[in-house]
Subunit: 460 residues, 4 copies
């Protein structure tokens, strides 16, 4: 997954972008980057790691300019490399261009093969570079080239593109990924989530609409919608898990949606008896609160999340490895001992983490563990940007609910129904249309042939 | 503040110590270190930064041994230097010694002056080095020298001392800082907090008692209590704020004590009307839950804590500076808008953070802010290891409650009473005796003359 | 300037390349890189700095393969950037390709403009990337594409190109830069200079001929010469200054040529009286020895070169700055005091270094300084790879010899004549044809229009 | 070996010290450090590596002051550690002290044992720390304590000691190591060698005399000679090999002495026939020149020294290892082929390097190699600071000259006689008295019992 941000017409453009990337850091911790422009000259810096590792004072000062875009990235296995860090920056026939992309194209491989045949040289292994090469190949002015390029790509994309004289934001016609427009004094701002707007005290203007291209130039916003319309397919998993609870995504408060999911789950489990409701922190907290409010079972903090987790951990043997995994979540024995608990989490992917949590709760003296998940079983992979693993490794892909329950070692297991989830997600919202592919295998686009991982070169 | 850990008779001594320092990381993020022994040879490594920054696989492997001690440190301003990182390791007349200290001596300056007169050369600016020099100067065997040295020092100390053939743990007669004994198979373990025992799956045996010295050698524990007895003065602030909620400190569950503090506060505010109870995360959460349970005002998550905060932040101007402080806590506008809230926190030190939080809650549309603090006003500095600033900068030192309320910009301000706090802290516990100096100025020992910051040398 | 190396069919390919780059390090200290292939897979690593800074054991091990090419680079001001480090590595329609280039194309800007019009995206600011893009654009097999590409470029190039199944070496038809073929057991080797062959104990086979393309595949060498013939224009400055004295360049021993240049200079100064001959170390030593042998004036070491010179020197004020420049060469006062010296150097570029040396010799008590240069005055810039500065900054471009003498503060100044230099350079060699453009302004090709430094983007 | 430097009363004290450490870098490349004082406050910085690695602009600026001392260090095997880097800086009963030491004490172990018995804690494994602890233990004022301390130590020491108000320089009564006094405007300067004075344009005043203590305070020099007189024992190896050729050491030009050594060797080999004289660069150059002048055999550069040698070289197998050693010196085949050469070097230690050089000369086609060494055979270890290895590994310790010749694989082998060496070293000098222990086993002091390497602790 990724987060993108852009701002124009502001003397603190690079500082505000830097600050905003902290607010979007949950969307990607693998690499970070900023490109900025000052008087027709473009500068950029990117690096592997989280924002605080990538940028020192020196880089931020070097990036001083009046417009900037930023990017944080989390990649799938195998392509964690500085060449894939964004913004991608290049000189093309349209001049200097920087591009930040959130989402995943489903026809990138075909585009790449066809462009290589025409003489293009790809430098990264990201699908995002295909957009850049299409732009470089398409004649006409930049607007014409961009429209032609977007007509050629399929899949999920929220984009921020920076040129020496404008900022362009666009969102694919399905609207898979969020993208919002804000205003800070005379500056326009675009961001994956509203939390960045709140942080820099910008006002929320509106969503960039699915299929919309917005040009921000000389302090003015101009919008075009040249792409063929398609049914909406907004990613419901942004609401369930991915976005920050303080953000407003697809027009809805994420915290409120998650509380509603918890309430809905409690309704579906009506009459269920337990002593306390315990969330898996941090993502399970809002649903657990909603569950507690609805069910009247008291909410308790039974698991403490550590903020200090080793990234380069040493695991000399199996025993040490097992211990290391407990670092992140610690049970509060005094709260848990002898209790029947409803353990609330947002989702189960492989099931291994949930099983470890269950084990550690048992060790702390919990009597009964009833696991309550505020979304349906995840059964298939995402091709639109969420880093769920291959379908085979999703526990619900090949086990039924009772098998999962046994695997987790819990006393009962409850998933929210698809309908209840969608009702909670759209409640109070005038718009409809979510992508539920990971829960239903109903993909709103054609999906890529089996991805070929046989890269021919690797570089450091 | 600091955290200490030690383990003997375990082939994974360094790995387990490394792991445990992650669990104690909240007690100090400035430096970290481990010393270990293998067949009479002592090895150590320490560095500035958090545990994950200080140790790579290479260091941990180099530290392989069968006994080890570890230390995490947070210093007061001005002496943040690698020379002060612990464990302190030295060759003395008693052979090789490593020492890890939590607490603060109140007569370190006198000891230092007197030892320098006798020819000692101090290399760090820590009080802990005084203990090492006393050990080096005192004749007899190590046990005799240790007893003589501890008789000479005053103040707070929980110590783990490692020699090539044993591990020694001791705690000052007032019992200011916690220290517990655990057992993992055939290995004895000492730790500042029980959370490290839980993590490595060691059993909790008991507290190291105030005034006790424990020698662990050849798999056996031997205890002596040679120091003059004094009234207990356990740091109540460990319970209020410092320790991890999943730890058992001074025999009590920290999470439970904090919930009790919240309940007690709700009782003292009986009849108070508000729409929701909102904690300042993470430390205010248990008290807020207790408050909500007692008062029946619903608990809501109105502030989201970010896990990604820049340590080396760029603040080119006042405007950017102001924005940067909001990074850590973000208001959830949908939860807060139009509400009268009880904002629960554990304590107020300078008041500047609380004021910023209040501002940001107002901006998010809160109607009324009623601040409820689960401890009394902090009016004086700590000389026993808590890193409270000089008395002058403590807001309650020179402002009354209404002045503080105005400074914070809140509608009402409520502190828990001293009696109620002490009742909650000792509830269910057979032992009595807390240090309340920061709330009452009643110091259980003589305190140092005005600390002289005129260091004569600084080294990198 | 740059140095290139390649080896095939050797299990130690990366190690031998690494070693050889040390031997070629004098040809470029700005960046270094290696690409290697193993069973169809290509790996590469490059970085800023000298070879010992760029490669650690980890990288060399990662590069294990059976064929490899390497590159060291020294760039002109302004484009010192990791993106310009070579080998350039890319996926193209012809598969994975790595390219190492020594020399400078004179029509790179035109090629770039034309390729950008066709949709190419350039990632570096080097002319070398143009060759890669031409290869990617030209259809047919790799050999056809390479011939078509080389027909399109003008200027100086010695190239080593690595693909998963072969090593290709080529040299432009003018033969500006050296490139030799060697053999080590069953492995063929190509290198900018023979010193690398000597180091790895490879036998010297022959020069790669001007206009020749050599394909090394399955342990066999195949040669084609498809490019139109042009007069030879081998860089005489390689002999005068650039190459290592232990190398054989263009079929001649560099050390011997330099001694001959010194002898020729002594002949042209026949009858000149002085007490001692002193070289400017290290490059002036062979010519000074030749001068001494011919003139019978004793050779003395009057200047000592320091091997420890700061790259990141601190110069707080003019005074300190002046001192810092003396670090590199120290006069030996006892040798120099009261003497009339012939100071021998290979060339004068800006004149500032020579002036400083003259000053420091005066301070050491030299009576008379007679400067003798073993080549003619440098009056114009090089467009074929030597990093001479723009013509305006060359002292002999705008001052006559007496003006230069005054600027340097020496008692007399003597340059070798063009004819004598060329006679020394070709003596004993059957081949003719040198480029003398820097001494004569007679460029063997058309030269680039005024170089435009207005880069549109910069990236770190 | 080590180099020391000090300067007082100069606003650029740290910059000039930094610069001078570059000039003394040949005396030690393992660690470097500077301590400076400003208005009674002492600051220091030291690190592992060469001067350019240890100091960045930041550190030099932090060290701004009006007096400073500096140190470069090369240690013997096993104690390469930052704790041993100098200047040693400490707070003692005499206030803040920084100490830089060149030389080696022969009774450091006894002093250490005795001080540890009295309660001292040693932090480094250097003998230099013993001086610091003696100072800290001795009562009275600093001058009294220093005299008492120096009376207690034996062996070689040239010292620079910095306090907040003065600079102290002293040299042991045997005068093992050099130390000179210079003057730069109103600033006094002390340095191991005069080359640093030349660099910073300071005037050479005189040697610090053996047994002299010089106090530099308030711009005045005061000298005392309180130590018992002993016969002079100046290290002749400084002249033969160690010092820089442009320095004046013990009152003599090093370059001139080395040329005399070469002349003397040629006289002892009178009538010897060969085609050319070839030095082993750089240290063999002056002796080879002297040899050539005396013998009339032409001097030629037959070996080229590379300035780029890897410190962290990868040697995957024996074959690669063998190649790597040739990196430093390359034969110039055209000069050597078919020649009978006199190969001149200053000394032979283990013989392995000389053997490798001989091998590589043979491979380049040399007909006969006659090795001529400008000093006698080294037969015993140095206990006064030169890093010669243990006696067993010195080739001349257990092989006679013909055996050495065979080991090296040369046609004949010639050493200079002891008398001739001493005559050359003292020629023109009024003073007598050299230490020749490494050539004669006649140690001018008692030497340490077998050094015990069994350190009890190691720290990073």
């Amino acid at each position: 997954m990724c987060g993108i941000f852009g701002i124009t017409n502001n003397k603190d453009a690079a500082h505000l972008t830097h600050l905003s990337l902290f607010a979007l850091q949950h969307r990607g911790q693998e690499s970070a980057g900023i490109a900025s422009t000052l008087e027709g000259h473009m500068t950029s810096h990117s690096g592997m790691g989280i924002v605080s590792e990538v940028f020192s004072e020196k880089e931020i000062l070097r990036l001083s300019g009046d417009s900037a875009i930023g990017h944080v990235r989390y990649s799938t296995t195998g392509s964690s490399h500085i060449k894939n860090a964004q913004p991608l920056v290049s000189n093309t026939r349209h001049g200097a261009l920087a591009l930040a992309h959130n989402g995943n194209l489903t026809n990138a491989a075909q585009i790449r093969r066809s462009l290589e045949e025409k003489g293009s040289i790809f430098h990264s292994s990201t699908d995002s570079e295909a957009i850049l090469h299409l732009l470089a190949h398409n004649p006409g002015n930049l607007e014409e080239a961009l429209i032609a390029s977007l007509k050629a790509v399929e899949g999920a994309y929220s984009l921020a593109i920076l040129t020496p004289d404008r900022l362009i934001a666009c969102r694919d016609p399905h609207g898979f990924r969020p993208l919002v427009l804000g205003k800070l004094g005379n500056s326009y701002v675009v961001s994956s989530e509203t939390t960045a707007l709140t942080l820099i005290k910008a006002d929320y203007v509106r969503e960039i609409e699915p299929g919309e291209i917005v040009f921000i130039e000389s302090g003015k916003v101009r919008s075009v919608k040249p792409l063929p319309q398609t049914p909406l397919a907004r990613c419901v998993f942004e609401q369930v898990y991915f976005a920050r609870p303080d953000s407003v995504v697809f027009g809805k408060s994420v915290q409120r949606v998650r509380q509603s999911l918890g309430r809905a789950l409690a309704k579906e489990m009506k009459g269920f008896k337990a002593d306390i409701v315990v969330p898996v922190p941090d993502s399970g907290v809002p649903a657990a609160l909603g569950f507690s409010h609805e069910s009247k079972i008291p909410f308790e903090v039974g698991l403490v999340r550590s903020h200090y987790v080793s990234r380069t951990f040493i695991r000399p043997n199996q025993e040490m490895r097992e211990l290391a995994v407990d670092l992140k979540l610690s049970p509060v024995a005094e709260v848990l001992k002898g209790k029947r608990i409803v353990l609330v989490d947002d989702s189960i992917v492989r099931g291994t983490t949930s099983r470890k949590i269950a084990n550690s709760l048992r060790a702390a003296g919990v009597l009964e563990i009833h696991m309550a998940i505020s979304s349906p079983p995840i059964i298939s992979a995402c091709y639109y940007g969420i880093d769920t693993p291959r379908s085979e490794t999703l526990i619900a892909n090949h086990k039924n609910i009772d098998e999962i329950r046994k695997f987790l070692g819990v006393d009962s297991l409850h998933y929210l129904s698809l309908d209840a989830m969608l009702n909670a997600a759209k409640e109070g919202s005038s718009k409809d249309g979510f992508c539920t592919a990971c829960f239903t295998k109903r993909y709103p686009t054609s999906i890529p042939e089996e991805s070929s991982d046989n890269q021919l070169l690797s570089t450091n």
